[in-house]
Amino acid sequence: MMTLFIVMISAYAAGAPGALLIGRGAFGRGVAALGACAGSAAGLAFGMSAIVSGRSFTLVSAWGLPGVDLMTRLDGLSAFFLIIIGLLGLAVAVYGYGYSVSYERRYSLRMLGAMLNTLLLSLSLLVVADNALTFLISWELMSLSAYWLVLTEHDGAETVRAGVWYIAMTHAGFVALVAMFLLMSGGDLTTSFAGMRANAAVLSPASRNAVFLLALFGYGSKAGIVPLHVWLPMAHPVAPSHVSALMSGVVIKTGIYGLVRVALDLLGGGPVWWGGVVLGVGAVSALLGVLYALMEHDLKRLLAYHSVENIGIILIGVGAGMIFHGYGLMTLAALGFVGGLYHTLNHATFKGLLFLGAGSVLHATHTRNMEEMGGLIKRMPVTALCFLIGAAAISALPPLNGFASEWIVFQSLLEGFNIPKPEVAMIMPIAVGMLALTGGLAVACFVKAFGVTFLAIPRSQEAEHAKEAPLSMRAGMALLALACVALGLAPFAVVPVMGGMLAGLGRLPDTRMDFTLGLSLASPNGFAKMSPALVAAGLLILLCLTPLVMLLLRVNRKLRVSDSWGCGRIGQTPRMEYTATAFAEPLRRVFAELYRPAKELTIDFHPESKYFVQSIEYRSEITPWFEKYLYDPCLWFVRLLAATVRRLQSGSLSAYLVYGAVTLLILLLIARM
């Protein structure tokens, strides 16, 4: 076991400087990919063996660095997140080898490879950290390496802006986390998590509430909950696509890890309203995330907004779990947490897959604008199939993995009638309604995303001449596509393990036995049963049986390929196709109150007659509520402060010398005290 841990750490630690030294060329990319691959594979194996054995380990407790007390420990929750990191890291590393070819001689491959390995290293350390210091160092290392990765294509104004937003938001969260840990540990950041657990039990309710709210803000800013999500749709699309997959699939999930670790494990659960807040934030994030995704025509931004949505779904599960926990309904609480965490794993696989698919499309067409795509299913069949699997999975369609976890989240909400207080229990049906609407809109959004990108006639020259992605990229996607199918078919194997993994966290019981029932997935106390594997088998049988019966009944099997029906008009051009904007138009009208669309139509008529139109220009924008009404005032305030402080900068050397002397004096005085 320890060997695997050491292999994991050293592979990442070797991959980073290796990539930095060698850099360009197939060899350089290979070294970066190899480090990440070996590390991820070791991490995956390590997590799997730990979670199956059900024991927890104290890993290297003294790292032997002078003055820095690093402590690491592995329990079920850490092992679960190590599995997520390992699975996605593996796919991303393989994919990245092929994808980064296009960066040769344009951008720094050295930094890309080194930072990818550093990011994976910091993620792995983060989830096994056993004191605040280790946690915060890994957290900051993760944030900074992700920042460098976002800035890979550093010459675009959009990229730089995204980087600034990202680094500002993540550090606002970091401040909250430092404050939270100081509050929990009584001022000593080297206290182990076990010590904090003991500390938290004797904290006053007010401080416990403060810790919870700081955790929600700090981790929420990383996870991208509404309204702290604004950086996410900016930063994720501009990063290299395999990095986007890692950021959307894993990095934002560290927020979920942190929240569960602090609220459930370290604080040992809390009052019911904590769960209510988490559930509310989750429901709002889920709905607004998908609504904004619908209006996006930039394929990667659309996926980024769906990350906001799915973080919301995860938090709905976690929030329901926390509410049940507050009432002491422990089995149901475990159901909610299992639903949320299972969705965390599933979202990592299908969102990773979708970002890799989007990356292949970007690689082939050099655009992220869906309105310039189309017809790619014929030119890139493997990418199209993988993207279709991902799209069906994220739309929670059976028998894929999104359905399995959303089913559990639904079930945990439906069990809300067990809550003794009706006024609290009434939250549940409203959450059910919001979750269902989110699911329906996600289907609409992915019909749009897949349909406009891959189906029909190419809308541009680039799409017309698109080529299938190279082998390494296809392999990365195929790995995640297989994971989507496997996790969807086998919840009966995954869910009990997760029940065991949560046992003991915040007094949760061991619910391994409550979930199992042969091939079926049963929720506790026999409320509902469902078997994705059998549903899949049934569908497969029917899919094979139907053509067979048709063959036996001698149905006419002739097929003639001809033009589409064009209402008598000959010749169909891509301009006659439905666009992504048009596809989303009905929903834009239905939710006009939210979007407040601004429309600008300029028609240039022929001077002779206004029945002949020379050109039409149509522009439409939706109101970005959060940027406009929440962040603009904040930015204004910061600018005001900066303008005030600027008066210090007089430009005269003697003034600066005075500043230096005064600062030194004050510092010395403080040190003396």
Partner: protein, 313 residues
């Protein structure tokens, strides 16, 4: 073993009855509107004709266009294996619950909408866009209706819901039950593309939803899609009748009980068909952008239904 045979028999019965149900509504509507109309068994002739014709496929379409009809048909048939049509509880009850039924139907809608986009015509895109819009907005009502039924029965599994209502007949007249029925009825109209949401007998681009999507289909593919659409109507009718008024559903697997159950099913389907036909002759189609209001009303009804189930528990 009898149970499994019965499952298959039930699916075959649904396949057999579904076109007749559509034909019956059409015939009744024609009579109500003072036309003679085609006989109720006309859809069977239509299906035979379509299965005998060659397929004309758009040159822009991909493999997805050819694969989608099978998925749509398979999901509809799979659902008939899960829904208690004549008997409950059946062995497949543990395979899928009400949520699985809803998401299986959504899988069919997903592929239907993609197939609508595949040939690259404006009609297909328009139909797909409208279909997913209506499906998305109908989703919360369905989920809440499930919630209401589940709270009452203590389970989302269909067999348990039927058994619970049968053992406690008084529950049928409580307000939660009635409101839930009304909400699901509205959703049924939207999901199966009936008036006032969609007009199943129009080919005018301003009004059509379902028809626009399948405009490029012909031959055996069209036959499969039409059959699946008829099945979907039958599924929603039998969900409405057997979950809210389960009398007649066989709880023992004796030939007598099963015979009664089949007759009861046919009677209930016919009764709902009469209601739908009457409704469709009395009201005009709503503008597309008024449909969300109708579905909003059904959502409020469903929410009230759940609330009253909570308070009266």
């Amino acid at each position: 073993m009898t149970g499994y045979l019965l499952e298959i028999g039930q699916a075959l019965l649904a396949l057999l009855l579904a076109p007749g149900l559509v034909g019956f509504i059409r015939w009744l509507k024609a009579r109500l509107q003072g036309r003679r109309g085609a006989m109720p068994w006309q859809p069977y002739y239509d299906l035979r004709k379509l299965f005998g014709k060659e397929v004309v496929m758009s040159k822009n379409a991909s493999w997805l266009f050819r694969f989608a009809p099978y998925v749509i048909f398979a999901t509809a048939v799979a659902v008939t294996l899960l829904v208690p049509l004549v008997a409950a509880p059946l062995p497949f009850d543990a395979v899928g619950d009400l949520l699985a039924v809803v998401y299986l139907l959504l899988l069919g809608t997903f592929f239907l909408a993609l197939a609508g986009l595949d040939p690259g015509t404006a009609f297909g895109g328009m139909g797909a866009s409208r279909e997913v819009t209506v499906a998305a907005i109908a989703e919360p009502t369905i989920a809440l209706a499930i919630f209401g039924l589940a709270v009452g029965a203590g389970s989302t599994n269909l067999g348990r819901i039927v058994a619970q209502t049968l053992s406690n007949p008084g529950a049928v007249i409580n307000p939660g039950h009635l409101l839930g029925f009304t909400a699901l009825f509205v959703v049924m109209i939207a999901e199966t593309g009936r008036l006032p949401v969609d007009n199943p007998s129009t080919h005018l681009e301003l009004t059509m939803i379902h028809e626009a999507m399948i405009l490029e289909y012909s031959g055996r593919y069209l036959a499969l899609i039409e059959w699946a659409a008829a099945l979907k109507l039958l599924i929603f009718f039998s969900l409405l009748s057997n979950l809210f008024l389960p009398w007649g559903v066989a709880t023992t697997l004796t030939p007598g009980a099963l015979g009664v159950a089949v007759i009861a099913l046919v009677v209930k389907l016919a009764a709902l068909a009469v209601i739908v036909a009457l409704l469709e002759t009395r009201i005009a189609k709503l503008r597309l952008f008024r449909v969300p209001e109708l579905l909003g009303v059904s959502f409020v009804l469903a929410l009230l239904s759940v609330t009253s189930s909570f308070l009266l528990r």
